[in-house]
């Protein structure tokens, strides 16, 4: 902290404190953490937490389906066990609030890694904060508490380690990659992105130097990362499973996060604007990212994010922060080096405002319940429990994960574990949900006695007209039907 003399007419000399611009980095990290403190609405959270609890209780990772009656006992590959255990432990410790807080801390950590990576690349604090801010704009919308969130954390950690190595040549920084890969492979199927990062940096080193020898550290790091990823309950089988899941066409057609972003939807505006910004800065100001690795990250990140929402977090961490670098290259002398006391107060007030408008308002029990009830059949579940209705139960696929968590007494018909249910089963269930196939034969086949469906969906329409069924409950979101006998 430095002080500048301020002259007053009285002749008295006052010193107003001035703060380093790195305060902006801290501000972005805290703001990011606060912005994602919101109710947990991920559709898969129910079965993730239940599985984590199961693992903690039995010290064993389930290998067969314990949640549905349609696939009960069928083989099930649980490859996200580590995240689930952590989530269940947090849930046991402090309920969903603990998971929300941990997610906020993770997002802050991601932004800290991004800021430090940019600083390692000799980006001025203000521009590094700007880069982290652009990353935050992309992260804020998609950083839900779910296993896929680890993409952001491990990508950020690996890129930070890689840049430290490139700057100082200390090979220990490359050790971040196998360490991250070990955790990543046991938390989410996106662990292959870690190997891609090793490949990109290796390719960049070869491109920049023209020497095959430059590839060696990255090849060794990649090999160590592959070896680390094999330390998982499935061993090599994890790679087979990941490849199989990526080839399931039903995932690309039906699973929201596998679809490409729809840029006519405002929720994707941050990605669209970031892509345009990363095009506009070089096109108008004739600047480009320094180093082949950054250029490759930009192309890989943009390509991934345009192809699938799954890669938005990767884009946010790997490519979006380059905006800060480009801004510095365009205006190298305009970086803020010190912040006035007024600016520091404004930042603190903004954090306070974000806290009051965000978590303080959104995480109250009433608001939390309301947010969950807007997406999930909370009241319908209460009705079923109050009347102790019995299954087997037909349910909408989007609610399967929630019901596994909220209604553990009743096994579900289907949920979002597409790899376990298989392409054909999921496609047929979707056809019934969309009304292109009748539900009646399936009700007959599985002896279904209870159905929880979207009030305005095609299945509800069919059940209302189907002899032998009556609607026992309905609200704006869900309707409960029971077989008359």
């Amino acid at each position: 902290m430095s002080a500048l003399p301020l002259r007053r007419s009285s002749g008295l000399s006052l010193a107003w404190p001035r703060f380093p611009a790195s305060l902006l980095g801290l501000f972005i990290c805290l703001a990011g953490g606060i912005l994602v403190l919101r109710p947990l609405l991920d559709p898969d959270l129910g079965w993730h937490v239940r599985t984590g609890s199961l693992i903690l209780a039995t010290h064993h990772i389930p290998t067969v389906d314990p949640y549905s009656f349609t696939k009960a006992g069928a083989p099930w590959v649980e490859h996200e066990w580590l995240w689930q255990v952590a989530a269940a432990a947090l849930n046991a410790l402090g309920g969903q609030t603990a998971i929300v807080l941990a997610n906020g801390a993770a997002v802050s950590g991601v932004l800290a890694f991004i800021y430090l990576r940019l600083r390692t690349r000799r980006i001025e604090p203000a521009y590094a904060a700007a880069g982290a801010g652009v990353a935050l704009a992309n992260l804020a919308v998609y950083a839900e508490a779910r296993p896929g969130q680890v993409v952001a954390l491990f990508t950020a950690a690996m890129l930070f380690g890689f840049e430290r190595y490139r700057r100082g040549g200390n090979w220990r920084w490359l050790g971040v990659a196998p360490a991250a890969e070990l955790l990543w492979a046991n938390s989410h199927g996106s662990y292959v992105l870690g190997l891609l990062l090793c490949g990109l940096y290796g390719l960049a080193a070869l491109w920049e130097t023209g020497r095959w020898g430059a590839l060696a550290p990255w090849a060794l790091t990649g090999a160590a990362a592959v070896a680390a990823s094999l330390i998982n309950p499935l061993g090599v089988g994890l790679y087979r499973f990941t490849l199989g899941a990526s080839q399931l066409s039903v995932n690309r057609q039906l699973v929201h996060e596998w679809k490409p972003p729809d840029f006519s939807d405002l929720s994707f505006a941050p990605i669209l604007l970031t892509v345009l910004l990363l095009l506009a800065l070089p096109a108008f100001l004739r600047v480009s990212p320094r180093g082949r690795a950054q250029q490759l990250l930009l192309v890989a990140g943009a390509g991934g994010a345009l192809q699938s929402q799954q890669f938005i977090l990767f884009f946010a961490v790997a490519a979006a922060p380059l905006a800060g670098e480009l801004l510095q290259e365009a205006w190298p002398s305009r970086a803020l080096t010190r912040l006035s006391a007024g600016s520091a107060v404004a930042l603190a007030l903004t954090l306070l405002g974000l806290t009051l408008a965000g978590p303080v308002t959104r995480l109250t029990p009433g608001a939390y319940h309301q947010a969950v009830a807007a997406d999930y059949p909370v009241d319908a579940v209460a009705f079923i429990e109050a009347h102790q209705l019995a299954g087997p139960m037909w349910n909408e696929v989007d609610w399967g994960g929630y019901l596994i968590g909220a209604l553990p007494r009743l096994p579900v018909f289907v949920d979002a574990r597409t790899e376990m249910y298989g392409q054909r089963f999921e496609a047929e269930t979707a056809a019934i949900t969309f009304g292109t196939k009748p539900v009646a034969p399936v009700l007959q086949q599985y002896g279904i006695k209870l159905a929880m469906v979207n009030t305005h969906g095609a299945v509800a329409g069919e059940l209302r007209a189907l002899p032998g069924w009556r609607q026992a409950y309905s609200d704006k979101l869900a309707a409960v039907f029971v077989r008359a006998d």
């Binding site: 729809d262 840029f263 096109a283 004739r286 250029q295 009304g435 009748p438």
Partner: protein, 490 residues
């Protein structure tokens, strides 16, 4: 036995023939020919049916339609037929040469559009090789949209406008701009994309003012935009055309459900050229090198990218105005003169490529193949069944087939078709909820006295009607199902 001297003058000339230069016209001719040949495919645009019927009415009455004559749900309601000129021309062609005439004309439009992109890039001082590559990038992006439809006139006029504007920007005579006026009048009478000419003026005006740091530099372009907008009013709707254009773009149904208006889906092969061009552009601007494009081009690149990512409707704009910028970026990155002086061997290679493409196109245009292509997309079998049985309406039909039915069963008015602006959000939403099984279909079918339903066999409505004892499925194939009330003549 005598021997023939191998080193005769005729033999010595052979290598010289092989090396003969073919001139600067070969590359653009090749690009245009590729554009023409790859566009030779069956006319399957979902709106072609009503366009041709509207054209017939115009040719017969010598005036554009102002009220709906094709549906029974909107019969007599106001309808703005703003593409009347294209429809009249297409109908005249169709009545003389049949579908082949339409396909050939559509292929010619694509070829000219691509050629104009080449001319535009040459005006921008790109070498013939890179101008050819830029034109190919445009063609690649146009291909998913290159069909017999009014929308393809947009790329053609856009290419023309860009070539002329670039010539004037590079010091060409201002009189060239006069050529834009008749082009704009034609554009405003063939397709709603005429408004893009004003956007081009904006990009040039703002870009040049920024480049020269003088706002006065934007003056001529603002004046040009005003003149173009004024001459656009020379159409049957007058200022109503502007209102109509803005109104159509504000329709929620179009944005939510109309495939042409939706954002590109990069899992679909049709959007891959756009994805590939976008990524190539990102790679080019990211690469350290001389990314030397002017401000107008940068604005076209950004505007085109933004628009194309937002809606499929703007991919043709991106194809002509933004995708070719990639060729300039590549040329700037290579930083050395790369030219191609086509020789006879190149020419033979080009001819071989064209021959192969043409063979594929001609095979696809054989009558049997043409009919098979139509029958894959449209309910040709169901229409034949309805005609054979003499089934009567009112008919409830699938949205995607409305125009086809207007063309093939002119005696049976449709329930709905692709003229979304005429039907409006409320009607279309009700139709969609009925077709998707989200509401009970009976009130809708009763309200319009529907006696015949022609829908996709795997639609939710088909599932609903199959279990409804009041309806009987009298026909179905892989494409369509026909339902009639139980006990009716069907």
């Amino acid at each position: 036995m005598s021997t023939v001297a191998i080193s005769s003058p005729a033999c010595r000339r052979l290598p010289a023939i092989g090396n003969a230069r073919l001139g600067t016209w070969v590359l653009p001719a090749f690009v245009a020919a590729v554009g023409a040949v790859v566009s030779l495919r069956p006319a399957l645009d979902p709106d072609l049916g009503w366009h041709l019927r509207a054209g017939e009415a115009i040719l017969a009455s010598h005036q554009a339609s102002h009220a709906d004559a094709f549906s029974y749900t909107m019969a007599g309601k106001p309808w703005a037929d703003f593409e009347w000129l294209w429809e009249a021309a297409a109908t005249a062609l169709h009545s003389t040469f049949g579908n082949v005439g339409l396909v050939a004309a559509g292929s010619g439009v694509t070829a000219i559009a691509v050629l104009l992109v080449y001319v535009y890039l040459r005006e921008r001082r790109l070498t013939p090789l890179f101008a050819g590559l830029g034109a190919m990038a445009a063609l690649l992006n146009l291909m998913p949209y290159a069909a017999v439809r009014p929308g393809m006139m947009g790329p053609l006029f856009l290419g023309l406008d860009l070539a002329i504007m670039e010539r004037v920007r590079r010091g060409g005579r201002l009189q060239w701009l006069l050529a834009l006026l008749p082009a704009q009048v034609l554009w405003a009478n063939v397709h709603g994309s005429y408004i893009q000419a004003v956007l081009l003026c904006a990009c040039y005006g703002v870009g040049l003012a920024w480049e020269r740091r003088r706002w006065q530099a934007a003056g001529p372009w603002a004046a040009l935009a005003a003149v173009l907008l004024t001459v656009s009013l020379a159409n049957p709707l007058g200022t109503g055309l502007l209102r109509f254009t803005l109104g159509a773009s504000g329709m929620r149904w179009n944005h939510n459900h109309n495939g042409e208006w939706l954002a590109p889906n990069f899992h679909s092969a049709g959007a891959w050229p756009l994805l590939a061009t976008l990524l190539l552009t990102v790679a080019m601007v990211a690469a350290r090198g001389r990314v030397a494009i002017g401000k107008p081009e940068a604005l076209l690149l950004l505007g085109g990218t933004l628009a194309a990512l937002q809606s499929n409707q703007f991919v043709p704009f991106y194809a002509v105005a933004a995708a070719p910028v990639t060729a300039q970026l590549v040329q700037g990155l290579i930083q050395r003169q790369v030219t191609l002086n086509p020789r006879l061997t190149h020419g033979l290679g080009f001819l071989a490529v064209l021959g192969l493409l043409l063979a594929g196109a001609v095979r696809g245009l054989q009558p049997a193949a043409y009919e098979a292509a139509v029958a894959t997309e449209y309910p040709a079998g169901a229409v034949a069944f309805i005609q054979q049985r003499g089934l009567a309406g009112p008919m409830f039909n699938d949205f995607d087939w409305g125009s086809y039915l207007i063309g093939t069963m002119p005696w049976l008015p449709v329930f709905v078709d692709g003229r979304t602006e005429m039907y409006g959000d409320a009607f279309l939403n009700r139709y969609l909820r009925t077709a998707n099984g989200l509401i009970d279909p009976e009130p809708v079918l009763d309200q319009y006295g529907v006696r015949l339903v022609l829908i996709k066999p795997d639609s939710a409505l088909a599932t609903t009607l199959r279990r409804d004892r009041a309806w009987s499925e009298t026909y179905h194939d892989d494409v369509a199902s026909v339902f009639v009330p139980v006990g009716s003549a069907g």
